[in-house]
């Protein structure tokens, strides 16, 4: 395998990781602040993708589509927070899981009802089409590079938001002490709705960005949701830093595993068997990584013990 191909795969892994980060960041924030496990986060990812595809279809403008994905996911996020989610904060995890699972059923079927069962397509806008030449003469997809940059920008923004702003202070206080923050006179329920909508918007954005590479279809969110869970287990729950590290680790492991394992097995097996065994193993690699982390540190790499 050539170095160039390897570097391209590393970039693909980064792109995948960054996209997982957008999902995992919202999940981990919502868990950290409100103590809620939200399975419907994958639905918000799907809603973002569908909103983007629909708006791109009407207007032909990709950037309007991205804005639409953020707004639609944030609004639906806020709506479910107000109607359902806030009843779940002091319920046990089983009830949170089941109620948000019910939301998945409702959102998936409603989307199928509105948009039909066939996948929609969201095209990469012309300005982002094609490749760029990176230092060292590597040709790489401009669009994927843009995703990486957007993801890193969002990560930086979240770190700033949480460590530097007043809202961030409230978020951190909310993590530690609900009564305290209530005593400070901050309306905790408004804060919760905001945090939830923020997480939803990130999921929606992620869905829209990926929607242009893959197809936009019902059920697209849950596999990503489960990968985001793997990210959180690896990184440690409630920690944005852990989400970023875990996401990149998972993105790289998965992408590189899929290209390299068949090659590695090919050095001592016949080619067809190597492809079979290599790709079967590659599909399990990140879960094996997760198992390793569980053995080594059950609370995750950045989780508190």
């Amino acid at each position: 395998m050539t170095t160039l191909l390897l570097i391209e795969q590393v970039l693909n892994g980064l792109q995948f990781g960054v996209m997982l980060f957008l999902m995992a960041a919202g999940l981990t924030l919502i868990f950290g602040v409100m103590g809620l496990i939200n399975l419907a986060h994958g639905s918000l990812y799907m809603i973002g993708a569908f909103a983007a595809a629909a708006v791109a279809g009407w207007t032909g403008n990709f950037f309007l589509a991205l804005v639409a994905s953020l707004i639609a996911a944030a609004i639906i996020g806020a709506l479910i927070e107000l109607t359902v989610i806030r009843r779940l904060y002091d319920r046990d995890h089983l009830e949170q899981v089941l109620a948000t699972f019910a939301l998945i059923l409702i959102f998936s079927e409603a989307t199928r009802w509105v948009f039909g069962s066939f996948p929609l397509f969201l095209n990469i806008p012309d300005v982002l089409n094609g490749t760029v030449t990176l230092p060292g003469g590597i040709q790489y997809s401009l669009y994927r590079l843009t995703i990486i940059l957007i993801g890193l920008a969002v990560a930086a923004g979240l770190f700033l938001l949480i460590s530097k702003t007043r809202v961030g202070m409230r978020i951190r206080a909310g993590e530690n002490d609900r009564e305290m923050i209530a005593a400070l006179g901050v309306d905790i329920s408004v804060l919760y709705t905001m945090v939830f909508a923020l997480g939803a918007a990130l999921a929606g954005l992620s869905g829209a960005l990926v929607g242009a590479i893959q197809s936009v279809e019902v059920g697209m969110g849950e596999p990503v949701l489960i990968l985001a869970f793997v990210v959180i287990v690896i990184g440690g729950i409630g920690s944005i830093k852990g989400a970023l590290a875990g996401a990149i680790l998972v993105g790289l492991t998965d992408t590189l595993g899929r290209t390299m394992l068949p090659v590695i097995f090919g050095t001592f097996m016949e080619p067809s068997a190597a492809t079979t065994v290599g790709s079967a193993l590659a599909s399990m690699l990140i879960y094996i990584l997760m198992a390793g982390v569980l053995l080594y540190k059950p609370t995750g790499l950045f989780g508190s013990t």
Partner: protein, 328 residues
């Protein structure tokens, strides 16, 4: 306490009467529906041991359901093609004998549950949910990418497996086999719940620290419960595969894990018959709502949401007007 027992008996009676009536009315489809309900109930009884008694919210029981299914699929497909599964170091052949298939399904899913449980039980709370969900998904992807047994397309078995002295192709006879297995498992699980083991398992669910400070090895109790739970769900998977004469990676999907959980919540968590009532209700909803609308999952979602938010204790809880099952 009596009321709940009466409700349980009524549920069992209905489960027998409906297919019996269908048999004489020559409505084999209804018998198949009842068989599905019984098999789903079995899967739910398995999960309920971990989830209801033990408080271990596993969102990955599809792994055992699928493992049971593939145990059946692999054994039966080798038997139908007259190919041994392996010849070295010793010969293992396929089989189409149900009891052998059940045994293999139970053992394989128990081993899988041992492995997954040993890792997952190092965590608690939401971590446990996420980890079990992820491990379940791992097998989904593995079966898709492993081509030997059909990969994504799954495996068809052309003739239903055999049970000595029965014609398993006759719907009512296959139903009876499944029903008897369900009753046997219910009996055993009921004994288990009342045994010192069950007392320790549920005690640790209610207060882990208490169980530890009376000298109970909580991790091991939970692991054993998890293994038994996985084995029962695995048996259900083998039966489900036999009912459809088909296995595919879908049996490993997270939706299956979610559905098994729905049976429990609809019927009532930690109630012996909760999953039985829940699975029966689920099949009825699927049948009637599914007949009304292509999009019946919307209604299912709404019902589930309602039950979680407003009707703790499930239908048995509503009927017996008790939220907590005590010594059911």
């Amino acid at each position: 306490m009596m009321r709940e027992r009466h409700i349980n008996m009524i549920i069992l009676a209905l489960l027998v009467l409906v297919p019996t009536y269908a048999h004489f009315a020559e409505e084999p489809f209804t018998i198949t529906l009842a068989t599905r309900a019984v098999i789903f109930a079995l899967a739910g009884v398995g999960l309920n041991l971990a989830l209801g008694q033990g408080g271990l919210v596993s969102f990955g029981h599809a792994a055992y359901f699928g493992m049971g299914g593939y145990a059946m699929g692999i054994l039966a497909s080798h038997a139908q093609n007259y190919e041994p599964i392996m010849e070295v170091p010793f010969l293992i052949e396929g089989t189409n004998s149900m009891p052998v298939i059940w045994l293999v399904a139970i053992v394989m899913s128990a081993l899988l549950a041992l492995l997954i449980g040993a890792l997952s039980l190092r965590t608690t709370g939401v971590y446990f949910i996420m980890v079990t969900l992820a491990f379940g998904q791992m097998f989904y992807y593995f079966t898709i990418s492993w081509p030997a047994y059909g990969g994504e397309d799954g495996l068809s078995i052309y003739v239903r497996n055999q049970f000595p002295g029965m014609n398993t192709l006759d719907p009512i006879q296959f139903f009876s086999i499944c029903f008897v297995l369900l009753c046997a498992v219910l009996f055993l699980v009921n004994r288990l719940n009342k045994s010192p083991f069950g007392l320790a398992l549920n005690g640790a669910h209610q207060n882990e620290e208490r169980a530890l400070t009376v000298g109970i090895n909580v991790y091991r109790v939970r692991l054993v419960a998890f293994v038994i739970s996985g084995a029962i769900t695995g048996l259900a998977g083998a039966l489900f595969a036999d009912l459809n004469r088909f296995v595919s990676p879908t049996m490993f999907s997270w939706q299956i894990s979610g559905e098994i959980m729905i049976f429990i919540i609809l019927g009532g968590v930690a109630r012996l018959f909760g999953p039985v009532a829940g699975a029966a209700l689920y099949i009825m909803l699927e049948h009637f709502l599914g007949g009304l609308s292509e999009y019946w999952f919307i209604y299912l979602g709404a019902i589930l949401l309602f039950v979680v938010l407003f009707a703790k204790g499930g239908i048995i809880g509503k009927l017996s007007r008790k939220e907590i099952s005590h010594d059911g």
